[in-house]
């Protein structure tokens, strides 16, 4: 709760920095704000559940942990906004403030206790992202990404709301625990179909936000067209917050066995489809950015495995698996998109060949991209390995052995496309004079890349730091 207030106030304050002629202060101030909010957020750790706004928001360890991931991701991501010239007249302070405001939405998604807050969280997060997706105003690809994201997002918000309205009609309340009680002890049996239709429509709405198949079709296009810095934000913060909200919804609203009988098969089907589409789609891509977009779909699939292995509480194997996986995934994805952004800005290309010879010109970039690719592929000694390990363990404990075998097969497929940039960087030579020049990297950026690589390896060596905290 303190983090929400601080982010809103400091975000407004940050706008006033836009009056200054120079933009040099913006990045340090932004990092200070995020660092401060991150610290304040962890003051609430182990303080027991605190409720705000008549119980509409609940701050507990679950929400503090996911808020922490989201804020940490934003903190290590902002250095990559440096030298981000969208437009000569662009007002950078506004973009930074929009990022802060969208983080407020992400935090609400991790701590809601009322469907109204779920709706507001999704909207605060998305409306800011619609603007940021189109922030490269003169670029038609960015325009198209913004329009697609906006129309699809608004459409699925409508679907989510219709679901909420039906659930409200069947249960008479928006409060999570009261809905859960009404689902378990229905007053009127004839309202059951309405409840289940509402529930499925809500799953559909959130499934869209996290980019799960069959509602993934917007992801590659939007991710490719959006300026890379904001793509990284979209594929990490939005996804993490979305999965926190998804887990909370299933655990706190629909844990009843009868309701599970409806959503569990749906979710399992979505999970299998997402894994298939994400991994097979990524193999066929020639652009690294598009490959990363499909890779983010496939990671939504692995996270769905943890949701399917749900155990009816915001703690235990499933919740911890999602927490660890989101953290490892966010760290690796930020550094992958960060390197991609630096290379693409310098060499003006986003295909695999653009990375040729990077190991010779920029060993640091090559190293951190290698670590992040290995983590995303789930190779041991990186965070991604234990992320997958915990998620699959949770699924095996609940008897989903077939699903885990399928997910393992799919992650073998993923090794192919994650190794391609590494091969380009280390085994191929630059094919034109343009690529033989080192890519310019600022101190903040190399610092962030080192921290990311370090954290990824740390998670892979000492997973006990994060595993089982919930």
């Amino acid at each position: 709760m303190n983090s929400i207030i601080l982010l809103s106030a400091l975000g407004l304050g940050n706008l006033f920095l836009g009056f200054r002629r120079s933009n040099r202060l913006l990045l340090p101030v932004m990092m200070l704000i995020l660092g401060l909010v991150l610290t304040v957020n962890f003051l609430d750790w182990n303080q027991g559940p605190q409720s705000f706004f008549s119980g509409m928001l609940i701050v507990d360890n679950f929400s503090v942990a996911f808020t922490g991931i989201v804020l940490l991701t934003a903190l290590v991501l902002v250095p990559f906004s440096q030298r981000y010239v969208l437009d000569e007249e662009a007002n950078l302070a506004e973009y930074y403030s929009l990022l802060l405001f969208s983080l407020v939405g992400a935090i609400m998604l991790a701590s809601y206790n009322h469907l109204l807050m779920l709706f507001l969280g999704i909207e605060i997060l998305s409306v800011a992202m619609y603007v940021l997706a189109g922030s490269d105003k003169r670029n038609l690809r960015s325009n198209e990404a913004a329009l697609k994201y906006f129309l699809m997002g608004a459409f699925f918000t409508g679907v989510l709301l219709f679901g909420m309205a039906l659930v409200y009609g069947a249960t008479g309340t928006f409060e999570l625990s009261s809905i859960s009680f009404a689902v378990q002890n229905p007053v009127n049996e004839s309202l059951r179909p309405m409840l289940y239709i509402g529930m499925l429509l809500m799953l559909l709405g959130i499934g869209f936000k996290v980019g799960a198949a069959p509602f993934h079709f917007w992801t590659p296009d939007v991710y490719e067209g959006t300026p890379t810095f904001f793509t990284a934000f979209m594929s990490t913060v939005v996804k993490t917050a979305g999965f926190a909200a998804f887990l909370k919804l299933l655990v706190q609203v629909f844990p009843a066995a009868t309701a599970q009988g409806v959503w569990l098969p749906t979710l399992t089907a979505m999970c299998v489809l997402t894994l298939l589409v994400g991994n097979v789609g990524a193999v066929a891509q020639t652009s690294v950015k598009r490959m990363l977009a499909y890779s983010s779909i496939s990671h939504a699939g692995y996270l769905l495995v943890a949701l399917v292995a749900f155990n009816g509480a915001l703690e235990g194997a499933s919740a911890n698996g999602i927490l660890f996986y989101s953290l490892a995934y966010s760290l690796a994805t930020v550094s992958a998109f960060g390197v991609l952004k630096l290379v693409a800005d310098a060499r003006h290309r986003e295909d695999y060949a653009g990375f040729n010879g990077l190991a010779k010109t920029n060993p640091l970039l090559a190293f951190s991209l290698t670590v992040s690719m290995l983590s995303l592929a789930g190779i041991p000694l990186t965070g991604g390995f234990f992320g997958k390990f915990f998620v699959f363990m949770a699924a095996v404990e609940n008897g989903y052995i077939g699903l885990v075998i399928f997910a393992l097969l799919m992650s073998m497929v993923s090794i192919y496309y994650y190794l391609r940039p590494i091969i380009s960087m280390y085994m191929r030579d630059a094919d034109d004079a343009d690529s033989a020049i080192p890519v310019p990297v600022t101190t903040f950026q190399s610092g962030a890349l080192l921290v990311l690589a370090l954290l990824t390896v740390l998670l892979g060596v000492l997973p006990g730091l994060i595993a089982g905290v919930l």
Partner: protein
Amino acid sequence: MDQNIPQVIQTVPLQYYVFFATALFSIGVLGVLTRRNAIIIFMSVELMLNAVNVLLVAFSAFRSDPNGQVFVFFIMAVAAAEVAVGLAIIVMIYRNIQSTDVNLLNRLKF
């Protein structure tokens, strides 16, 4: 107006509201799926949101529970914010390609 509004709403059976809202919602969905003009698609989305509002108000009145009606205010406020952003995006695109036809936007392909 001696009668209070919830009583007026309750003179029509609840199922009718549900059918009406579902019909409105389906028209909105069909509009989004079939029309190619960004502004018309956007109007269809608004239709979907208003179907939700009708449904929430009806449930709220029949259950004598104010929560649903408060929810409607939030939906209206958020929809207004979305309109502002959405129209800005459409104007931005119109400036670049002099059209609002979504079929012309095909630079991003598989």
